[in-house]
């Protein structure tokens, strides 16, 4: 039996990778994938705890997260395509119209 802490450490590493990728990368698609990575990091900790405590709620939560992530992927990719069509770039540093 692999101890819980291993799963949690892996989950933390995945999440940290996601955060780092989100902060460092400039390409929107890479950023998008970093977000997925963070979500999956969290999913991993959910299922790990569910298995540890023999609870189903954690598993169900993961399904929810997956559903939302799928929807987000659809919307997000659509936005990315729209951005690319108007701005001709996927570099977030050049997509800064929200600035004051």
């Amino acid at each position: 039996m692999i101890p819980l802490s291993f799963y949690l450490i892996l989950s933390g590493i995945l999440f940290a990778c996601g955060v780092a990728g989100f902060l460092i990368k400039r390409n929107i698609i890479t950023i998008f994938m970093s977000i997925e990575l963070m979500l999956n990091g969290v999913n991993l900790s959910f299922v790990a705890f569910a298995a540890q405590w023999h609870e189903l709620r954690g598993q169900i939560f993961v399904f929810f997260v997956m559903v939302v992530a799928a929807a987000e992927a659809a919307v997000g990719l659509a936005i990315i395509i729209a951005v690319y069509r108007t701005r001709e770039t996927l570099n977030v540093d050049q997509v800064n119209l929200l600035k004051l």
């Binding site: 955060v19 989100f22 902060l23 460092i24 400039r26 950023i31 977030v92 540093d93 997509v95 800064n96 119209l97 929200l98 600035k99 004051l100």
Partner: protein, 663 residues
């Protein structure tokens, strides 16, 4: 049985006129404006005349309470009007002379662009003046008091596009504030001491008090403060400086406000408060000294003035000094007598001077007049009556009142030969400068420019250059101006024939009612003839003095017109001092205005206002600006920096939780 007099209607009528003309006058034609003004001021006069006609059936004093006003504990003030012999005389003077001047103004102001505005102000003035005169307590009186100050300000600055007129209006208003301050403090003292401002109640409370001898009591303080107020309104030393400048207003204004009515409000107020003054000998002495000094001082300035209206202005100040001298020696009824005759002849003189100015096309400098006698005969003859009246020559009005004042100054228990001597000297100077004016204006050769030179009326440079000069040459004024002159001339001629004795008796219920005057005064009155010279002897002396003034003026300004110049240059220092009005304006500028301005500017404006108040506000605004400017840069629009902030926030939160957990 006293009929209902509807006293409240008298002040209200001119107010209605002022309202109608003020709101609608712009759309009215000139005849309508004058009709409105005349109807309402005439109605006030008619009602006053009707009250006189009821005189025998009146039981004076008559009190009419219209409505309650202030109620504060036991202290109360009502909208109430009060009529006794004193206010009756004032009522007649104000409505009578006021109405005549309204008529005159129609002719004088006809060409002015702001015709309706003038009559609005004039009616407004009548309203306030009548309120002042008919008030039954000091607070209502104060309303009128301030109101006439306001209308005086509006009328002096009537041609407000001219700088000097605007400045003169402000000067009058501000100098009057100083006096009003004294008046207000006096009122507070009265409230504190007696708990009422109502004349009847107050004088009832004061009557049992004895005369304040030695040291200063509360009555003396009240009296002196009231005198400060009176000095402001009636242009006495040290607050007289506004009156000569007030001549910037249109001439009918000078006649109505600055000769006949408003400036006499101080005399009226002092007379009204005689119960207080009679119990405060020191306050009375202050009144007498101020009056005597002013009479003399202003008369000497009058000698050197070249502007026809300025001469009359200083003569007004001087004559008001006589009235205060009379009040100061306890002869209140004589002060009021002189007030009445003065209203007639000074109103006449001003209107006649206005007629002269009108005739020569706006010139006010007497050096450019002369020889007008035959050209404007009506003006000449009426002005002659006025001049002889003010000089105190028998049998004109001024003789009776001035002579009565001088007699009382000598014989009254409060009197002294000093007052009499200064008064007599002043009478001589008065006679001299009035005849000087008379000779300079009407005799000799015409010294003004010939035809065509007088399209420059005094009002020419303020918006209505068309002041009635579609004509050439000197010309007589229209009938609408001449008729009031004639009526006033008749009054100036006969006004004194009432005689001081009968006048005194008429006012006796006001000034000598048994429970009103302290016993000592009554004794003094009856024992007046303590070996003093008789009145007729004094009368001869004062007429002689007046005739000597006439002779001297004739000698200097008709016989040898070069002599005044020589005299002036031989005493150039003195002459310059006097003709610069003793540099009093400059002195006030140095002592009061300059320090005031510099303190206001350097301490209050630059120091307190800019340094503290503005700095606090500006500082906090600038601080907010700076903070915002720093924080603003967090909103970079850069997606990754937002993410960084979120991540950093999350990190801080986690560390905090961990710290909480491990603690």
């Amino acid at each position: 049985m006293t009929p209902d007099l509807h006293l409240w209607l008298i002040p209200l009528l001119p107010l209605m006129g002022a309202t109608i003309n003020g709101l609608l006058g712009k759309r009215f034609s000139r005849p309508v404006v004058s009709a409105v003004a005349l109807i309402f001021s005439g109605a006030a006069l008619t009602q006053a005349a009707w009250i006189i006609s009821q005189y025998s059936s009146l039981s004076l004093p008559y009190l009419q309470t219209v409505a309650p006003w202030l109620r504060a504990g036991s202290f109360q003030v009502d909208f109430a009007f009060y009529l006794d012999q004193l206010s009756l005389i004032m009522l007649m003077v104000v409505t009578g002379v006021g109405f005549l001047i309204h008529i005159y103004s129609i002719g004088y102001m006809w060409e002015d662009a702001s015709f309706y505005r003038f009559f609005t102000y004039l009616n407004l003035f009548m309203f306030f003046m009548l309120t002042l005169v008919l008030a039954s307590n000091y607070l209502i009186m104060f309303i009128g008091w301030e109101g006439v100050g306001l209308s005086s300000y509006l009328l002096i600055g009537f041609w407000f596009t001219k700088d000097s007129a605007a400045a003169a209006g402000k000067k009058a208003f501000i100098v009057n504030r100083v006096g009003d301050f004294g008046f207000l403090i006096a009122l507070f003292l009265i409230i504190k001491t007696f708990g009422t401002l109502d004349f009847t109640q107050l004088f009832h409370a004061v009557a049992p008090l004895g005369i304040e001898t030695g040291g200063v009591g509360v009555l003396t303080a009240i009296g002196i403060l009231l005198m400060v107020g009176a000095a402001g309104k009636s242009a006495q030393i040290p607050l007289y400086i506004w009156l000569p400048d007030a001549m910037e207003g249109p001439t009918p204004v000078s006649a109505l406000i600055h000769a006949a009515t408003m400036v006499t409000a101080g005399v009226y107020m002092v007379s009204r408060s005689h119960t207080i003054f009679e119990r405060a000998p020191i306050a009375l002495m202050v009144v007498a000294i101020i009056g005597t000094l002013t009479a003399f001082f202003a008369a000497t300035i009058g000698v050197t003035q070249m502007d026809i209206k300025k001469v009359l202005a200083y003569s007004t100040v001087s004559q008001l000094g006589y009235m205060f001298m009379a009040c100061g020696v306890g002869a209140f009824s004589m002060g009021v007598f002189h007030l009445m005759t003065h209203a007639f002849f000074k109103g006449l003189l001003f209107l006649a001077a206005g007629s002269v100015i009108h005739a020569v096309g706006g010139e006010q400098d007497m050096r450019k007049m002369g020889g007008l006698r035959t050209k404007i005969p009506w003006t000449f003859w009426t002005m002659t009556v006025g001049t002889f009246a003010i000089a105190g020559i028998w049998p004109l009005a001024g003789f009776y009142s001035k002579d009565a004042i001088l007699f009382r100054a000598l014989t009254s228990p409060y009197g002294s030969w000093i007052y009499w001597a200064v008064g007599l000297l002043t009478a001589f100077i008065t006679s001299f400068y009035m005849f000087r004016q008379w000779f300079m204006t009407f005799f000799g050769e015409y010294r003004g420019e010939a035809d065509g030179g007088h399209d420059e009326h005094s009002s020419a440079n303020h918006g209505h250059p068309d002041h009635g000069h579609g004509h050439g040459g000197v010309h007589e004024s229209p009938m609408v101006m001449v008729v009031p002159l004639v009526i006033l001339a008749i009054l100036s001629f006969t006004g004194g024939w009432v005689g001081s004795e009968r006048f005194d008796k008429f006012l006796a219920p006001v000034f000598h009612s048994a429970n009103d005057a302290p016993a000592e005064i009554l004794v003094g009155e009856s024992g007046a003839d303590k070996g003093a010279p008789s009145e007729s002897m004094l009368a001869v002396v004062s007429v002689g003095v007046a005739l000597f003034g006439l002779f001297l003026a004739w000698l200097l300004y008709v016989k040898s017109p070069n002599l005044p110049q020589q005299i002036a240059s031989s005493m150039s220092g003195l002459y310059r001092t006097v003709s610069h009005k003793y540099y009093i304006d400059e002195l006030y500028g140095w002592i009061l205005i300059k320090p005031l301005v510099s303190v206001s500017r350097d301490v209050f404006w630059q120091g307190v206002d800019k340094g503290v108040i503005d700095a606090t506000l500006d500082g906090s605004a600038e601080g907010a600006n700076d903070v915002s400017d720093t924080v603003r840069h967090m909103q970079s629009g850069n997606l990754r920096s937002y993410a960084g902030w979120v991540a950093a926030g999350a990190g801080v939160l986690i560390f905090f939780m961990v710290w909480l957990g491990t603690r």
